[in-house]
Each structure stands twice: as structure tokens, then as C-alpha cells.
Amino acid sequence: MPEEMELETFFAAARADPPAPSQALLARIADEGRALQPRGRPLVAPVPPRGKGTFRSVLDSIGGWPVLGGLMTAGCAGLWLGLSDAGGLGGYVYAGGSEGWLYGPADLVALAVTEDGV
């Protein structure tokens, strides 16, 4: 159809001469894009873990810092019990045929041993 062909020549002419944005506009748009661009994820190699020392190996073998903390607490408590004057246990004690002053848990143990006659 001739009229259809004529219309196609109009379209072809318009496609051949498309409206184009200015270089200044493209530069502005690119600048805006760079300003809004997400920060790049740095592509640096991860730092390898350092080698284990002797202390670290021992610590790991007993279960790490939490276990070491528990051991230290128990040790301190034992030391305190051994060195302090356990007032609750002190006093003059009669036990069977023995008697004497009881100053602390160590005396109590000694007394028990004596009682058993070991």
C-alpha cells in the first residue's frame, strides 16, 4: 500500500535522526551515578591465621579460656581454704580418746585419720 510505504519513510527519517542528549548531560548523569555508587568491596586476600605457640596449644588441649578460668578460680578457692583461719571449724575438740585445738580443715583431716587409727 503506497500510503503505508510513505509512512515508513517518515519513520525511517525519524530513526535516522534521533534526538540525542548533550555530552554535558551524559557527564552530569555519570557524575551522579559515581556519587551514588555503592562502595566497592575491597578485593584483598584475607589475612591467614598466625601459627599456634606452645601456650596456645596447651590452652586449646584443656578446652580454652573458659576452662582455664574455672581452673584458676578453683585453685584460688583451695588456696584460700588452706591458708585462711576457718573459724567455723576451729575450737577445742574432744573426739574419742583424743582432744586438742582444731585450727582448720587440715587439723580436721588429721583428727579423722587419728580416729580411724590409720
Binding site: 509512512l7 530513526r15 551524559l26 551514588l36 555503592p38
Partner: protein, 217 residues
């Protein structure tokens, strides 16, 4: 942009160089035809060259369609800038395998242009009357000597949806399914709009045949 600490800046610089090299490699690997989606992914990953590449490739598309729908270069510039701004913001969350970037941008540009056209229609009544009154007259007044300009003027006389369909189909060269996606209608509706638009353009341009170099007969 917030200032970066020196260490971060150093990492950023090194990362950017690595990414730029990766971007070049990706572009070279894909030849000149690195897809818009690849460029957008590079942009999202911080490739400093991707913003300019995307602007050069996609902003003209938004500008063209806006200019052809509105017939106003200044408004088309605003729309191209706004459409690209939306693309920059959408880039970090862009889902690969979804809509094509160009289809998405066409849709944004067409919608922005439609908003402008509607705002024009809500302007003073005498302005609206000028367009409504004299479709042939308006065409006569606007038509320049060459056919591209005559077509541009005739397009301005088409109803909004017909104009969109004709611009996307015959000037941007898109397929009907893509136009349907952009305009959010069915393919049949696109065909109908395009056919009616073509008939209206023929009617508007037929009176200019002699001036535009067509002989009778």
C-alpha cells in the same frame, strides 16, 4: 559521600583498581556487547568505569523516548536524568534474570513522560484548547521542511497511549511483547494502539505530501 579513614581509602583504592581490571576483563570477555545487566552488576560492585558506560548507553534511550513523547528537549533532559537516578538507586538490589535493564528504563521514562503530559493537561484551559482544536492546524504550524520533524509534530497530535506505542514500536524498534511489558498492557492492546496510531499519523501527514516531497499519483 562520607570521608573515608585512610586505611579504608587505601583498601578502597586497591579494591577499585582490582575491580576496574575485573570490569575490563569482563567487558573484553564479552566483547563490545557486554550486556546492560553485566554493566549494572559491575556498577553495583563499585567499578568506577561502569557509571559512565551505563550513562552513555542508557541515558540516550530515556532521552529519546521522552523527547519523542513530549517534543521538548529540556523536559526530556529532566526525564533522562530522573530515570537514570532511579537506575543508580535500583542497582544494588537488582535481581539478575528479571526484567531487562533497558525495558525497565523505557518503562520508567515512559511513565515519567506520561506524568508530564497529564500535568500539562491540567494546565489552563486555553492551552489545552490549542491542542484539542486544531490537530491538522497544529500539525501545519509545527511541521518543518523535513519528514522527521513532520512526523515529530504529527506524533504530538496522537492520543498519549497511541503515541507511546508508535514511538516504542516504529522509532525505538521494540517488539510488541516488550512494549506490552513497558506499557503494562496485553500484546493485542499494543497491536491495536499501534494500528490506530499509524492511521492517525497517515491522516495527519497526508495533507503535507507535496511539501514533503511526495508527488501526487
Amino acid at each position: 559521600m562520607p570521608d573515608l579513614p585512610a586505611h579504608g581509602a587505601m583498601n578502597e583504592g586497591r579494591g577499585s583498581r582490582v575491580q576496574s581490571a575485573a570490569g575490563r576483563k569482563a567487558r573484553e570477555g564479552a566483547g563490545e556487547a557486554a550486556s546492560d545487566e553485566v554493566l549494572l552488576a559491575l556498577y553495583g560492585a563499585g567499578d568506577p568505569a561502569a557509571a559512565r558506560s551505563l550513562a552513555d548507553r542508557l541515558a540516550p534511550l530515556a532521552f529519546r523516548v521522552a523527547q519523542r513523547m513530549l517534543g521538548d528537549a529540556a523536559e526530556a533532559e529532566d526525564i533522562a536524568q530522573e530515570a537514570m537516578l532511579r537506575l543508580w538507586r535500583a542497582a544494588p538490589g537488582w535481581q539478575p534474570g528479571g526484567a531487562r535493564v533497558s525495558t525497565w528504563l523505557y518503562r520508567v521514562a515512559v511513565n515519567l513522560a506520561t506524568d508530564r503530559l497529564r500535568r500539562r493537561r491540567t494546565g489552563p484551559l486555553d492551552e489545552a484548547g490549542e491542542v484539542a482544536d486544531g490537530r491538522p492546524g497544529a500539525v501545519s504550524a509545527l511541521i518543518e521542511a523535513d519528514r522527521a520533524q513532520a512526523l515529530g509534530a504529527a506524533l504530538m497530535c496522537l492520543p498519549e497511549r497511541q503515541r507511546q506505542a508508535v514511538v516504542l514500536r516504529h522509532l525505538e524498534g521494540l517488539a510488541n511483547p516488550e512494549i506490552a511489558e513497558i506499557m503494562d498492557v496485553g500484546v493485542e492492546a499494543v497491536e491495536s494502539l499501534t494500528a490506530r496510531g499509524r492511521r492517525a499519523l497517515q491522516a495527519a501527514l497526508s495533507g503535507r505530501r507535496d511539501e514533503l516531497g511526495y508527488e501526487e499519483g
